[in-house]
Symmetry: C2
Subunit: 311 residues, 2 copies
């Protein structure tokens, strides 16, 4: 099996690492040659993490090839993953080119966190191209986090979606088929809501970036790593049940608990405040050190959960 990774930033490199370490050959293309170094660092980091997480002997590594063009990268690839910057016209143009270059049986997937697949595919003139194009939105670090949102456009062939999910399961991911196209799918809608409220908290001097992070990390983040929102609230409701809980909770939604109608203006002042707080919080580490810390923690969590679930 061969995957073509088009666009080699954090997400593209993460995809490359995940495919590669699950036995796929990977053709990698990014117009910026500096991306190659970063991709190799990401893959080394992923190798370290995955050999700790899994039985190392079970990992069959594929072959990595840095390609000089999109055309070279897609040759022989069953899976083509687009991870270029989040700009609609750019993504549309890249997907059009990739489709024109891809072999007939290839799947063309976009990593977009925000755009609807039907909007991405609307410029494709060829029906067959539209039929094999879909969204597969992963989470950073792609080589460790199992979730991937799979979103079909109104043109996508259901068999393509089926095949995509099978292949994603094969690289140890947990695909979630999103029922409806919607801007930002599911995850980024939730994240956006938190992000907006967090910006208000920092802007209004209720909390610093570090304090927001601490509340999340040592509080509800620990719950969410192993149960979601609804199961947590189901427990909170106790034996009286979910509907009882919801009936009690309902009125609270009318309380002034968040800055409902306002979007904070992310102007120079707020940007400077967040940046300096973030520097104070994490500036003693390089990004690479933070990534390594994150990955060690994720491996520890995933390992702990896996052992727990085997018992």
């Amino acid at each position: 099996m061969k995957a073509a990774i088009i666009g080699g930033g954090v997400i593209g490199s993460g995809w490359a690492a995940r495919f590669l370490l699950h036995g796929w050959d990977v053709n990698f293309f990014d117009p910026n040659p500096a991306a190659h170094t970063k991709a190799q660092q990401t893959i080394a980091q992923a190798r370290l993490s995955l050999t700790t997480l899994y039985d190392a002997s079970s990992l069959l590594e594929g072959e990595l090839r840095f390609c000089a063009s999109e055309a070279e990268a897609v040759v022989g690839a069953q899976w083509i993953q687009e991870s270029v910057p989040e700009q609609l016209s750019l993504k549309q143009a890249v997907l059009e080119r990739l489709n024109s270059l891809a072999s007939a049986d290839a799947i063309v997937a976009s990593s977009t966190s925000g755009f609807k697949p039907s909007v991405l595919a609307q410029r494709l003139s060829n029906r067959d191209d539209q039929a094999r194009t879909l969204v597969c939105h992963p989470f950073n670090p792609v080589y460790l986090l199992p979730m991937v949102e799979v979103v079909a456009s109104k043109f996508t062939n259901p068999q393509v979606v089926e095949r995509a999910e099978q292949w994603l399961l094969g690289i140890n991911m947990k695909p979630l088929r999103v029922r409806k196209e919607i801007d930002a799918h599911i995850a980024d809608r939730l994240l956006e809501a938190v992000w907006r409220e967090a910006l208000w908290l920092v802007k209004d001097d209720v909390a610093t970036t570090e304090e927001v992070d601490r509340v999340i990390r040592d509080g509800f983040g620990l719950r969410w790593a192993q149960m979601g929102l609804f199961e947590t609230y189901r427990i909170a409701g106790g034996e009286a049940g979910m509907s009882h809980f919801l009936e009690q909770f309902g009125p609270a939604l009318q309380w002034p608990w968040s800055r409902l109608t306002d979007v904070p203006e992310l102007g120079p002042e707020l940007i400077a405040k967040i940046t300096s707080q973030s520097d104070a919080q994490s500036g003693h580490e390089t990004i690479a050190q933070m990534e390594a810390r994150r990955d060690r923690n994720l491996v520890a969590i995933l390992q702990g959960l896996a052992e727990q679930n085997m018992q």
Copy 2:
């Protein structure tokens, strides 16, 4: 040391377990005798979790006493924790009574997730009572999750806050002093934002309760259990830095990524939908089974993170 636990629901029982298993004597009062059984179950569950998490021999268990009245419960208690239902006038009345009963050097803390401490304390006629009253808002399960939001009112004596934090550190919690009084403090503002958006997703048939939970659990929940929001975004920004990331992110806040201005109506129809989806998702387990699963997972995560941080 002795703690008086007033109100023995999920939160009160969790406080009782945490104090007790860290060597405090606990006087427990709830007007409903059925709360005693539930508290004992919670303590048994906590004992199981904490003896797995810590060196069992390091846990010195205090003595638990079920009391017949508030007056009996507060005798000799240095810490009085109010965890009655989230109704303002009820909490105000209980805090007034507890203050009138407490010994002079006791701290009186409320578990409120929503009310500002100055509002809770405004009815207290005695300045000394106002000075020793504050909010200590924990997270369920209280005996496992380390976060507690500590919020002083405008009347609270800073030395009381200081002492409260020292004692919370002593029972292995990670107190966060909240800088400003604000409805719902920090955590529940963030949670409320996610909750509102999640209700929309279910109402609009974009996702079921289980799908929302999966996206959280297998996606960003894993990130948040070991880093918060801002550190995650700092990494996403890469070496270009936080301000570069924010400048790029800014415009996205204006996109239609969430149902900004609307609060979903949590009427009978939506309640029925969520309840039936939640039953389909988790109805095969009792709440006790779900709690046990949650706690095993939390222990595994906390253990994994602790081992990681010792290396």
